[in-house]
Amino acid sequence: MTDNFEEDNWQDSKDKQESLLLNLDGFEGPIDVLLNLARDQKVDLVKISILELVNQYLGFIEQAKKIKLELAADYLLMAAWLAYLKSRLLLPKEENNQDEPSGEEIAEALAFQLRRLEKIQETAELLFARPQLGQEVFARGMPEGISSSTDAQYEANLYDIILAYGDIQQRAEHSSYEIKPFNLMSMDEAAKRLSTMLGTLPKSGRNTVWATLEQFLPENLIDALMSRSAMASMFTAGLEMAKQGKLEIRQDGNFNPIYLRGKTE
């Protein structure tokens, strides 16, 4: 009986929903849409049927999907939540769980949320219907001005100061984003270079001839940082390849040249 009544009402409100859909941009999110649907029930929000409202909202989302309207995530999130609420309201009541609010409690909270928002929207209108300074009420047009020891000589308000501070902060953020990427030789690059160059070295038996690490570095390295990174990457790549059995490394003493030679299996 009740269900039928709600179904009918839901059908009736379909036209309304379509016009709602066309105005979706004018809404301030799903709660606002809910409030508008609730107003269409034309009953005091205190007596609103949340179940009916949920059906209307879900119908509204269905319609939107049907005409392939892009809906923001929060509208869909609300739909999912309302579907959950509906199931809570329709299902037989569970054992009294102290931790979780009952479906009725959630529904009441939602109704409160809607009443509160409606009231604020009403009072916002009342507020702006009042005579406003510079619109209906006016200050003296030609004030001579008075001087005072307590009045500041300088014009500045809190907003100016906060804006100035924001600017400083943003300058600081900006500069921290201006760090340029370092010019470095990557390990991959070094490994590739090393194996290519080892392949071109003259062979002596199963191995190539010995060559110093420096000989493998790119020529004309001017940038000091780049030189150091190339040296480090080449050496590390050399160690890795030695581990894989692709080359041998030799150093005759501390700070002496490092020699590499290719190995063929």
């Binding site: 939540w81 009443r115 604020i120 916002a124 507020l127 619109q135 200050a139």
Partner: protein
Amino acid sequence: MSIDLDLQRKVEAILFAAKEPLTVEQIEVRLPQGTDVRAILRALKDTYETRGFTLTQSGNHWAFRTAADLSDILEHQKEEQRQLSRAAMETLAIVAYHQPVTRAEIENIRGVATSKGTLDILMEAGWVKPGRRRQVPGKPLTWITSEDFLDHFGLETIMELPGVEELKASGLLDKRPAIETIPGTPNMFEEEELTAQQEAQESENT
């Protein structure tokens, strides 16, 4: 009690010349020690009650303003006013009626995250200002209305806000979240934004 007419003249001259509404203290310092400025202001308020401009009080500030019922004749003086968005109007109403109120509470009441250019427009207009910090974890800043707000809307105190008594009686001034699980509360949006930002940063790093 009769009020010294000479002192009345002085107070009205000070208020008349001032560019901005003045506090009792700002008037006091210009007058002989011990002058009861409040009594004079009350007398002047009566005197100008029925005139073309009246003495109005907004908070602790006093100023002469044209009578509200004469707006028709002053139509030509109307200043151009920036049209406020619905979001800004609602936010102002929430700050006015629920003050002191945190941004999270504003978002809870409206059911949406506060977009850019809502609170800052209201602050730029001089209608809202930061209030005390709420003594809860995170110490969030609260927002309150300014005396300029009262002056702009012709209110003596916030208790004169239209419908404030009714709102109080209805229990709708409760600014707590109606229920934590209702979607559209700001926490959800913040989390989403944060996640989006983190993702953006992470993809930059790889």
